[in-house]
Each structure stands twice: as C-alpha cells, then as structure tokens.
C-alpha cells in the first residue's frame, strides 16, 4: 500500500475522524480519501439540469445544440446542463440516548459515528449528483432537511447540531417523515435499532410502501456485543434510566447469544422485506460502510 493510501485509510479511522470538528471537512476528507483510495468513482447520475448556453465549437455533440435558440438567433449554441441526481438520498439518523454511548472513551460514540457516516454518505451522494436531505429523530423527527441539490450544507449543519435526547422509536419517526418524501429515493436509516424486530420491519414497510429504497445501517459498538468483565455491576439504560444489577461474568454468554440472535433476526426480517441491512461496527473505519453503501447502491440502480 502506498503512502497515499495509508494516509487515506488513517483518515477514515473513526478515532482519527473524531478529532475533526467540522463535519463538512470531515465528510470531504472521508469521501476524498475513500475515493482516492478506491481509484475509481462510479458516477452514475444521468439526468442533467440546464445551466447555460455556450457557442458551439466543432466536436461538440450536435445533439446538444439548442435548435430553438438557433431559430431565433441563427447561431449555434450548445446547452450546458448541470449534472442532475437520479434520486433523493435522505439520511435518517437516530439521535436517541442509546446512541450517545461508547465503550471506549477514545472512540467516538455511536451518534458521532452515525453523524460521520451520514455526512460521508450524503457527501458521497452529493458527489454523485444526488439530492440529499437529512432527518434526525428519536421517537419522532427532530430536524428535517428536505432532499435537494443544495441542502448538503443544511444537512451537515443539522447533523452537526444533533444531540442525543430521549428514547428512540423508529416507527413513529418514519411515520412522521413519510409525508416529506415526495419522490422516489433512497432512505439511509442509521441507528442501533434497540427495538423489536417487528417494529423495525413495520417502519421499513412504511418506507418501502412509499417506493423508497431503504438501506439500514445497524451501528453497534464492540462493547455492546458483549458485556464487560466484572462480578457486580448495575447497568443503567441510557434511554429509560432503569438500572439492572447483574454479574456480567455470569451473564455474558447469554447476552452475547441474545444480541447475536437479535442481529440475525433483524437481518433475516429485512432481507425478507427486500431491504439492505448493513451492520456497522463503530470501531471499524468508515470505508467499510461506504463500500457497503456503494455496492448496495449499484444493486439498487440496477434494480431500477
């Protein structure tokens, strides 16, 4: 691996990214680093919005000549178009209290990771000429930035401002977000999905029922996959404040089985719904998620 690739990989490390305060800069860094590292940017957008006219020069595609203008002015002008997205990409970021957690103080919390991921995905989408928007939610939408070609900054600002608050409820949040999704698009749901699988499935059905392609990023901290060592600890639920005294050493195996079962059940249910499910370990670099996104995005495009 050359130096550039090494540096880029390093910049994708969430621990390193956590030190970058500006989310826009972070997203650019991630995406540029990601793209430089991949050496290929799969531009998929086909639609173009008119931007301006310029005089025809030989070699230009004559299909782009504006014949109406030629009729009025008797000169050849070529229409120049802005690249136009194929779809709306809306990132729904869970900002419930359970997201503000990390098992390692040096690592970003799940919420931070979600923001990094959402910002990077939106930035990447914007590079692909998609219209981007953002919804932050807990048990209801908190901030909603509609998907447009110019709303990347607003989306990033919304993500920047987001703070963990209250318990989460995906179905309710989706229920309130659905009316704002006018066009067919892609909804990126980034959450830890501490909900029943059925609830998640119902929420997803709301989205798919509105012809939205849904990709679920399931964020899990490594510390959530297992229990910390120790013989007597009270775990306090980040959302409800409820405490439960346990002996982790004696509960660990059961817990790991339960959480694995949950993830498996979630994956199984979502696959059945035709929804993409991307489990993300917050200790892994962002490019894992980005690759997964782009791969799935390609599949989605082909499906269309």
């Amino acid at each position: 691996m050359d130096r550039t690739a090494t540096a880029s990989a390093r910049f994708l490390d969430p621990t390193v990214l956590a030190r970058i305060g500006n989310l826009d800069l972070l997203a650019r860094t991630v995406v540029d680093g990601f793209l430089n590292g991949s050496h290929k940017a799969p531009y998929l957008g086909q639609s173009m919005d008119f931007a301006q006219h310029r005089p025809y020069v030989p070699g230009d595609d004559i299909r782009r000549l504006d014949w109406r203008l030629y009729a009025r002015t008797d000169r050849f002008y070529v229409k120049q178009f802005e690249a136009e997205t194929n779809t709306d990409v809306v990132a729904m970021v869970d900002v419930s209290d359970s997201m503000a957690w990390t098992s390692d103080a040096a690592r970003p919390t799940k919420l931070d990771y979600a923001r990094f991921l959402a910002a990077s995905l939106l930035h990447l989408s914007r590079r692909q000429r998609d219209r981007v928007g953002c919804v932050t939610f807990d048990d209801a939408p908190i901030e909603h930035v509609p998907a447009t070609a110019r709303n990347l900054d607003l989306s990033l600002m919304a993500l920047e401002r987001s703070r963990a608050r209250g318990p989460g409820n995906l179905e309710r949040a989706v229920h309130h977000t659905i009316p704002t999704l006018y066009k067919r698009g892609i909804v990126l749901v980034i959450s830890d999905f501490y909900e029943d699988v059925d609830d998640v499935v119902r929420a997803v059905r709301h989205l798919t029922g509105r012809r939205q392609d849904v990709i679920l990023f399931h964020l899990l901290d490594p510390g959530e996959r297992t229990l910390p060592p120790g013989d007597a600890v009270s775990f306090e639920d980040a959302e409800t404040g409820e405490q439960v005294p346990v002996i982790p050493d004696r509960l660990r195996e059961g817990y790991e089985a339960v959480i694995d079962e949950h993830v498996a059940a979630l994956r199984y249910a979502l696959v059945r719904e035709g929804v993409d499910f991307v489990p993300v370990d917050t200790s892994t670099p962002l490019d894992h998620a980005l690759f997964a996104y782009l791969t799935l995005r390609a599949h989605t495009t082909r499906r269309r």
């Binding site: 910390p228 120790g230 980040a238």
Partner: protein, 709 residues
Amino acid sequence: MGLAFLVPLALAAAVAVAIPIVVHLTRRRRSKVLPFPSIRFIERVPYRVESRRRIHHWFLLTLRALAILLIVAAFARPFVDRSAEAEAAGTGPTERVVLLDRSWSMALGERWSEAQDAAREAVSELGPLDRASVVLFARGADAVARSTSEPRRLREAIDTARVSDQATAYGPGLKLTETILAESELPGREVVIISDFQAEGWTGDEGVVFPPGTRIRTVTVGEGPIENATVAEVALNRRQVEGRERVSPSARLTRTGGTESREVEVALSIDRQTVQTRRVTLPPEGASAVAFDPVTLGADQTQGSISLTPDALPHDDIARFVLSPGRAQRVQILVPARGAARSFYLERALEITEAGDFEVVSSTGSVPSGDALDAVDVLIMVGRPLGGGAEMARVTEWVREGGGLVLVAGEAGGWGAGGEAIFPGALGGTEDREGRGERLATLDYQHPIFERFRGPRQGDFSAARFYRARRLDVQPSDVDSVAILARFDDGSVALAERRSGDGRVLVWASTLDAEWTDLALQPVFLPFVHQLVRHASGRTDAFESFTAGQIIDVADGRAMESAGLGAIAEAIAASEERVVLTPSGVSFEITSGEGSHFLELSEAGFYEIRPPGRDDLRPVSVAVNVDRAESRLAPLDPEEMVAAIRNDTDGLAGGIAAERADALRRADQERRQSWWRWLLLGAFGILIMETILSNRLSGRRARSEHARV
C-alpha cells in the same frame, strides 16, 4: 494454673465477631453503575438470582473477625491464674513491711538488739520477687527503707536504727504501713510488727485498715519480768525569801516490778553539778517522794535535774528542768484622792504571794506616762474615772501594745471620750440590791480567771453578797470582741473583758472593798484577785521542761514567750541567727526569714541555743524529758492488736472480704501479666494488615473496572 479473665463479661462482646461476617454476607456491595445503551437484551437473558450471601474475601473476613476477637479478649483482661499455685507454694511476690518499735522503752535490757535481729531475719526471708520496707516508729513513724528488694539497703536501715527518746504510739507506724501496702502492686502483703507491745501506745481506735489478705506477724521482744524505777514527777516550788527567789525541788519516784524494797540514790543537779543527794527506799510496785533543800536561783536559764541511779532503763531515771528567776508583775493601782482606802483589800491580796508575784504600787495621781507606763504590767483604776483626751489616748495605745487594764467601777469609776474603743460596753448608774443583796450567779469557768475554781471545793463565789453595783451594758455589736465573765443573779453583768490589740481591759461592775460587797471578806477573794491580775497581764508560767517529740515554732513570739524563750523569738524576729546544740551534740542554725521556724525536740536532754560564735554567753536552755507515759511497761497482747487490725481489715463479712481479696489477687496477677496490651497490639497490627490488603484489593478492582470503561 489456668487461663482466666478479669472481666469475663466482656467476652459477651465476642458476638461482635458476627458483624464482619454479617456485613460480608449481607452487605450489598455498592456495585458500580455503568451506563449502557439499552438493557433490553440484558433483561432478556435468562438468569438465576445470584446469592448475595456469598463471601468474597475469606482472608479479609478472617482478619477482621480475628481483630475483633483479639480486642474483645483484651477487654476481658485475660491472665494465667497462678493463685492456687502460689498459695500451695506459699510463695509469690510479697510486699513486706517490717515495723520496728524504737520507743525508748525498747532500750530496756536486750530488747533493742533482739528487735534488730528479728528485723534482719524478716528481711532475710525475702524471695527474689518480694519487696520490703522498714518502718521505725515511736511517737512518729519513718520509713527508712521503702518498698525495696535490695537486702543490703534493708539491713543498713536496720543496723543504723537507734532507740529514740519518744514514747510508743502504734497509730502512725500502722498508718504508714497501710499507705505502703495500699501503694504496692504485689499480690502478697505481710506486716511484721517487732515491738515490746506496750499497752500504753495502743488506743484501739487507730482506724488502721490494711488491704485485704494482709498477713500480720508479731514479734514480741523483752518478755519476762520487768523492773524499772522512774522519776515520775517533779515539783519546783518557788518562794521569795529576802528578795531572792528560792526553789524547793521535790520528786515522786515510782517502781515497776521487783519483789523486794530497793534503796536508790536520788541526786539533784544544778547546772550539771550534783548539789544534793537523797537515799530513798522504793517498795516493789510502789512509789516514794523525795524533797530537796531549797535552792536559790542566781541566774537565768539554770539547768537542773533530779536523777536516780541508772537502772536497766535509764531514759526515765532523770527529769530535767530549766529555771529562771521569776519577774514580779508590776501592778499600778490608781485610786481617787479621797478614796485611798478603797484599794486596801486589793493591795493586801496582791501582796500575799509565796513567790512575790506582784510588785504593787498604789497612787492617787494621774495615769503614768511614757516609760513609767510602759514599765507597768497591769493598771488598776479603783473608783477612779479614766479621763478622755491625752490620758485616754496614752492608755489606749499602751493597752494595744499589751498592757492590762482593770477598772473597778465603784461610785465614780468610768471613762471619758474615746474609751468606747477599748472598754467593753458602757457603764450606767448605780443600782442598789435590796434585801440581802445579789450573788454572782453565772461564772465563765472556761475562762482562765475562773478555770481554777471550776472543781468542787475550789472556791465558792456564791457566798459573796453584792449590795450595790454599776450597770454595765454590753452592746450586742460588741459580743464578738467582748466576753462576759460573770453575771449577778438578775442577769446584769458583773465582770466583762475586752481584748484590744495585744492587751486586755476588764471592768468590774462593783467594788473590791467591803463597802458595796463582802467579796473581799470571802476566802475566794485572794485567788480571784491573783487570777484577775495575772490574766490582765497576759503572762503565763514559763515551761520548765518539754517532752521529747514536741515541736516549737520559734517564729511564734507569743508561744515562745509562754515557753520562757521570748529572747529567742525576739532574736529570730530581728533576723538574728541562733545556733542550736542538741543533747547529742549536733548543732544547726535557726535561720531568720518569713514563715515558721520549727525546732523539733526529738532528743531528751538540754537543747542550748545561743548566737553563733558566742560560746562565752550563757545559752538559752530547753529541757526535754522523755514521755513518762512510756514508763508504764504493761504489755498488750499482740493478738489483741492483730485482731483489731484484722477486724478493721475484714470489716465486711468474711465471705465478701475473701471475695475482695481474691478479686485483688486476680487483678494483681492480671496487672502484672498485662496480656491485654499484646492483644490490642496484635489487633491493631491485624487491622493495619487488613487495611492494606483491602485497599490493595479495592485498587485492583478499581483499575480493572477503569480498564473496562
């Protein structure tokens, strides 16, 4: 021998050992609260309730329980009870007090050497852990060796002890022994009393309480027949003959023991020269008197003695005395110009004395002034008023400096302005007593004037009739400073006294002639007048001898004056030093300065006191005789004394006393072993170890938890 506890009840606190166990079992360890994204899946984990009653740190629990047990055991005061062992062996640390009688009766025969041998034997029996004290006692007590285990010191104390000149008194010695035993921490206590056990020194109410369990052993010395002759009493009758004072010494001799009459030689010595001898036959268990020819006193401080031929007990074979020519008291009688006869009876009465006690001057003039007044001891105003002004001021000052004023009221007696400062009350008018007159009804027989009339047939004042008298009112406010010495039948005051400064003022409400009363015609008149004047003068008879053991405060001028040692008191008061030579030849100085200066007359013989470096001067002498009570050699049954002490000791019922003694022995053993200190030390050590260990464990847990977070 076995393990015992002084406070076994404290063992009940051993249940406290359950505290750390219960805490270990029941204390819900304050588990750390860890925020977690969601407990949803934790709650779904099938789990079983883990018993909280699980002991996590057996070693810590053991340490804590052990520390509590050690502390409890320390408070229970454990010890190994060796009482039975010690009793069986008859040994064990013992505090032994050897009480050695050194009263002068111990000088009889071989008593003293026997007593010393017995004392040496008592201290030679000491075990290696024993301690002993040697207490010498006579009238006082002195611990010459106190609670020591060094045999050499004890033997030296016994070897250097000497018979004193003091009489026996068991109380001080036993009290000192009681103190020594009470201070001792040794479990065993023993008292060895070595004495001739004279009954004279035992009163039975010494109030001695020895600690419980004290063994008392007595060693009686000098048992067997006793024969002793004593100069029991000396009388020195003075008589004024042709202007010179002559003393007629006489003595009473007693004899104890013996079976046949014995002739003894009695010698009178003056200034250490035998001047007369007499031979007297003393019957067995009898007494005789001996009288010597009068001796003319030529000089002050004449040393004299009456002695017998020394016998086995020489201390009481001599009686010493010091004589000085008596000084007649100067009495100034002032009578009115027209009433010179009013003092006739008074003057005659004062002139009639064997030793010429009074030097009477009668005049009709005014009160003497200056040195003339200072030379007067007693001023008697008979029916003559004392004027106010300068005369009153002069008399007032003279009285306050020690003069004696007697005012015989009569018809015209009284005092002028300023007299209320020294006279008792106020003189009123003349009161006639109707019929057969009044009698003296109430006399203060506690007062020195009337004290000698106290006994039966010692003087009958009731025979005297009083037909007239002046009213003498004593103000209630004067009651504290004024003494009413005699009252008439009707309660009115007949004689009152008021002290003023160093002097005295007496007011007689009637007369001392035959005009208002017939008192002057009564036999009691002469001694009454003598006592009245003597008391007014403030002078008392000088001490001719003291008893060994008495102490004189040479700074007390009045007491020294009474003892005939006024010159010494004046010298000390004037910051002049005096050298005292004791009968045994030891000399020391009486220094001047503030406070008391005591001269202890511990030896029999003559103490001589003179200015330092002036051997040429005739010294002031103090004659000291042994206490004659010691001559009564009747013995006391030692068992009686022991029983009395034991009764005091075992004042409680026998069982209770035994319990107390047992408790004391147990306490002594526990105190000597003091295991509790080591137990507490061990407990603290364990607690420190426990603290270190638990901190280390806590730190380790904290680190591991921190690493997890």
